[in-house]
């Protein structure tokens, strides 16, 4: 029995007198290795192994107050004391004081035993993968390579006082690389194949980094800007996700009000949709059910350009008098977490790029986290905006791009283009560019 299961079982017994409870406990084991400035490992990025129990518990006491607590490997040994500690911090939150009715979790495949073996027995594939990344980057002409590769194996228990008891294993694999401190990429997955064929993915960043070595001048003007799928992820995460979170909608911190969702207000172009799907087999952000016991699945947030539903946990679902939705996993780009933006008749990414002329291709921006997501306005530095002329990289310029991302989602001339490698499309939109 894993430490997570043991802890969860003990907690469930101890909490039997509470009005309600739910918990999530994970036994997490991981291994990773990194490279900084072409140096594999060294002091700052040594191979690392980690193991711990992590999780949380939510309790509704007899008087209706609620408590939240953290679970770790010590919880089991100090249970009576921890429960008293959590009780001492109980507070009133009537919308939150609810345990989901028992619903069978969605069956989603999330585990690859070969990845688990890497974590527990043989870290060799992790070293080999980072060596592949470095070799591919150097072959592409990189001067400076930074990279990281890691795997984890987790046993998760999710349980509630309404009878839910879900126990499942999952594995995760992550790879990241940066070429010449300018262009970068990531690959996330759950199976052993995530570590294969990295050279082609690395070469995409490598070609951009090579193009960035030639500096060109860009005059200040309004012009077309193409966000790579990676750059588009950061816009989707910062602007769309923030304004779709039920907590922000209900508390007045979103661009959109609850009434707008109820009325189905049109906020984007009529062919644009936004969907969350957390039940993609082997999806990096997939799961069986949320930590609250809500089954994993698909929810439409924007359909036909109209607001359909915010992302709602139990508390805000009750406050908004709407159904709870799946929640995107944290700690990864929104597309990998299952949040995808779509438009009708999307082009292919390669076709969009090959047909691009007099545009700035943006792969990363500085300062996204400093922008106010509610306004939609952005004013961002792009140290290496790639100038594309007649489908060819003509060099790079440091530019500042500005505009309004939410307005762009409503513009007829905004273009979306999907690649095979990315969950969200690249986006071409009009911006003001300062050279």
């Amino acid at each position: 029995m894993s430490a997570a299961v043991e802890t969860a079982e003990a907690l469930a017994r101890r909490l039997s007198e509470a009005r309600g409870w739910r918990l999530v406990a994970n036994s997490v084991y991981s291994v990773d290795v990194g490279m900084d400035d072409n140096k594999l490992c060294g002091h700052y990025r040594p191979p690392r192994a980690a193991g711990e129990v992590a999780g949380s518990v939510f309790i509704i006491w007899e008087d209706g107050t609620v408590s939240r607590g953290r679970i770790d490997s010590k919880t089991l040994a100090r249970l009576p004391r921890d429960i008293e500690l959590w009780r001492s911090l109980a507070y009133r939150d009537d919308d939150a004081a609810h345990i989901a009715e028992l619903t069978p979790p969605t069956q989603v495949e999330l585990f690859d035993p070969r990845v688990s073996d890497i974590v527990t027995d043989d870290a060799g594939p992790v070293f080999e993968a980072i060596s592949q990344i470095a070799a591919a980057a150097r072959e592409g002409g990189a001067d400076v390579v930074d990279a990281g590769v890691g795997c984890s194996a987790v046993e998760t228990v999710i349980a509630t006082s309404n009878g839910l008891w879900v126990k499942y294993p999952e594995t995760s694999v992550w790879c990241s690389w940066s070429i010449d401190k300018t262009m970068s990429g990531i690959r996330l997955g759950r199976d052993r194949e995530t570590l294969a064929g990295l050279a082609r993915a690395v070469s995409v960043a490598g070609r951009l980094a090579l193009a960035a070595r030639v500096r060109v001048k860009v005059d200040a003007r309004d012009m077309r800007v193409v966000l790579t799928p990676r750059a588009a992820e950061s816009f989707i995460g910062h602007y769309l996700l923030h304004n779709m979170l039920g907590e922000n909608v209900a508390e007045g911190r979103s661009r959109y009000s609850l009434e707008q969702f109820r009325e189905g207000s049109r906020v984007f172009r009529s062919d644009v949709s936004l969907v969350i799907d957390t039940a993609v087999p082997m999806g990096p952000g997939s799961y069986l059910c949320t930590s609250e016991g809500i089954p994993s699945g698909r929810a439409v947030l924007v359909e036909g350009g109209q607001l359909a539903a915010p992302i709602l946990n139990i508390k805000y679902a009750r406050r908004c008098q709407m159904a709870p939705t799946p929640i995107p996993a944290s700690g990864m780009p929104p597309g990998h977490a299952g949040l995808t933006l779509r438009a009708e008749n999307m082009e292919g990414w390669t076709e969009l790029l090959s047909g691009a002329d007099d545009v700035i291709l943006v792969d990363s921006v500085l300062g996204m986290h400093t922008q106010d997501p509610t306004t939609g306005n952005f004013s961002l530095a792009v140290p290496d905006g790639i100038v594309v002329r007649e489908g060819q990289y003509a060099g790079a310029a440091k530019v500042v791009i500005s505009g309004n991302f939410m307005s762009a989602m409503n513009e007829a001339d905004t273009r979306f283009a999907l690649s095979d490698d990315d969950p969200n499309p690249g986006i071409e939109l009009m911006c003001h560019v300062e050279g």
């Binding site: 490992c41 690392r48 980690a50 939240r68 400093t370």
Partner: protein, 494 residues
Amino acid sequence: MRVGACTEACRAAVGRAEALGVYAVVRVQDKIERAVGVVNGRTDLKSVEEVSGVGVQVFTASGLAGFASSDTVTPGSLVDLVESAARLARESGAYGPEPAKGIERVRPLVAQAHREAPMGIHAIGHAREEELVADICRMTMEIDSRLAVRTFYRIVDEEWRIVRSDGTDVMFSMPRAAVMNMITARGDSHTATVNASLSGEDASVIASPEGRLRLEKRTVKAARTALALLGAPRARAGSYRIVIDYALAKGLAHEAFGHAAESDCMETSILGREGRFRVGERVAADIVTIVDGPLEGDYAYQPISANGIPRETVEIVKSGVLVRALADVFSAQQAGVPVTGAGRAESFRHVPVPRMSNIRITVDDPLPIDLAFEDVAPQDVRDCLARAGLLLESAPVLYLSGYKGGQVNPAKGDFVFNCSAIYELTPTDIRLCQPAIFSGKVLSALGSIIAGIGHPILDAMGTCGKSGQRVPSSGGGNMFLVIDGNEEITIGGV
């Protein structure tokens, strides 16, 4: 101290390391963190977290390094971690790793630096904490019905113990607390979000009359700014003479300069040449000084590094000239600088890297201003500039108020940060404009500082992200800095 209880486990680790022929650095962390969140007057969160764990880093004689961590701190667990880290270190040898060197050159230290905060984590009960935070939130909401407010308070009592194979055994504490008011104003078709915060080492930020008064003043100022921004125009993009407040000055010092002065990135930093720190080179006017170091009572206080070396106060720039880098034991020699004890780690799970604590940028002979920072209005800034002959007839001077975060690429010297609001100051008018990014080249910005206004204020709080780790940071500068127009520094654009 709580970390004093793990002596047996630390000894077991060091003993096992010796038996395996490796050098070990054991880092034990024990953190208690309590938080209260109130949203629009209703309690949204009350939590307490007790986190403890240990990370073990080992080095073989040939410089192979490995790391293992666990949230179980027992002799048996630590022995397992040493073995796991040593196994990984040796396994890495087949892939041509960079040798890790330097730890063998430092002297052993046995010390304890326990900082007892006057209003520490146990000084105020949970219920009173909740009342105080809710009161701040409601007070903010009462300013105007168009405001949505999230007030978040966190108090942390964090202890570390660093034990090394050379006999080093140090313990230190890092108490801190902060309260943040996130204020969103909503108009018919616009929204604007601004923040007001106060940080320190203990609950005095919400519970002392002085703390409460300062927070109230900051909150009222921020809320009024948010409301005024609803109808504000945008500033025209371009290069201007600008005035930044001390929080933005901290951003400039931290994001634009401090990271480039960290010894681990000297091979690619703009402050490095051929991997070595450019000591003796002029980077700013001779009125400019930049210092980093721990301050007692500060939000980012850390007296000893995560490698067990006392943290020094470092003059990075003195009279405009580069003097010292922020260096840890592993990259100091290669960067050609002395070790300053700059290694910090977010948690027991992380490997320490050189980074800042409290960084401040100050200017000699600042222009006087006889007001507390919270009481300074844009008019006061303009009058001060006018008295000093720094207001321009030909173009507005832009006063950037409030820091909303930033980012830097130390290898290229590009920085960007954002403010809460911009005021266009002219001899005849003051116009509030929407915030826009302040971006440019690090050395251009430093070289363009022409004046300071007011005495230094050093409590601008933040969270510093580097190498996937987030640690508390703080700093500041003179109440305001004046940066001359420079085509490599731009506002906007729009």
